[in-house]
């Protein structure tokens, strides 16, 4: 790895990379992350695990959002993390380390997807429910009993979320995950994917409504009680 100096300091201090101070660059990196980066660049490779471990779920989600197949998503996530290790000296500190890593993972997954598409030109276009104008029309209008976050402890709900996510097309899934799972802004999502902000909004709307419809069978409270069989509630 090239000789790189990363000046450890409080948030807001600049990073020194390749002998240059990134003037005017306000570091977004946490002090602990900075220290870990410095250790990795200084040859203490085991510090990389400490640095990456908290980011693993976000990295995997980023690749899984784009690649439907779990094995491919894991492969891309691993590749991204290895690339981050090799290119750590290029990290400028103008975003959080996790954001930088998720960007690498997103690019890795997109590259893999493009390769796959070239080999097999298809996309699992779902028919959805469209009206004449092509808008997504919600399928279900029953009252939604709020699912509390504690219900996420039930395996059934987590599996249902994964299934619902997998039912989205790649272009809707990637936008939904970046925005709602990883909390990128509309602007950041557009930039990362190289699409217009209006396209992000359109895809996000469709993805959110489709996710809601996909999870509707448990909305009578089954997700919260952990009951396997849903008693669907329809007021009409």
């Amino acid at each position: 790895m090239s000789a790189v100096a990363v000046r450890t300091g409080l948030p807001g201090t600049s990073l020194r990379v390749d002998g240059k101070t990134l003037a005017g660059t306000k570091s977004q990196v946490e002090p602990l992350e900075l220290e870990q980066i410095q250790r990795v660049l200084g040859g203490q490779h085991e510090a990389f695990r400490e640095l990456v471990r908290p980011c693993e779920p976000a990295v995997f989600m980023a690749t899984q959002a784009i690649l439907k197949n779990e094995a491919d998503a894991e492969d891309a996530a691993q590749e991204a993390i290895l690339k981050a290790f090799t290119n750590l000296s290029k990290f400028r500190g103008d975003s959080k380390f996790s954001t930088w890593l998720v960007r690498i993972a997103t690019n890795e997954a997109l590259m893999k997807l493009r390769k796959e598409r070239r080999q097999k030109l298809h996309d699992s276009l779902d028919d959805g429910s469209k009206n004449e104008k092509g808008d997504y029309v919600p399928r279900d209008f029953a009252d939604w009993r709020e699912i509390p976050s504690e219900a996420l402890q039930t395996k059934e709900l987590r599996q249902a979320l994964s299934r619902a996510l997998a039912s989205l097309t790649a272009k809707h899934r990637e936008v939904f995950v970046m925005r709602d799972v990883q909390h990128f802004t509309i602007e950041e999502t557009a930039k990362l994917l190289g699409i217009r902000k209006s396209a992000v909004k359109t895809r996000l709307l469709r993805a959110r409504l489709q996710m809601r419809d996909a999870l509707a069978p448990g909305m009578d409270g089954s997700w919260s009680t952990g009951r396997r069989e849903y008693k669907q509630v329809r007021p009409w």
């Binding site: 779920p57 894991e74 209008f141 939604w144 996420l152 996510l165 709602d180 509309i186 959110r208």
Partner: protein
Amino acid sequence: MVIEISCEDVWREVSNYLDGDITPQLRARMREHFKGCKHCTAVLDGTRNVVQLVGDAKAFVLPAGFSDRLYQKLDRKLSKDDQL
């Protein structure tokens, strides 16, 4: 006097409504619509709940053995680099 809005138009804007990405006028029209439309209220509540759930860190878990496989790969890479 708030101008009425159709259910279709509400569905088209429900995501922007949740993100606070609409004009105050449109927000007022939608709010008025929700008061009298049970279906659109259900769509709004459900969509909001989905966004809250998936945004929770507990929503998705890594595949079993993910970290072990990752660090085995990294160790292999490091030992390969050392040999060079």
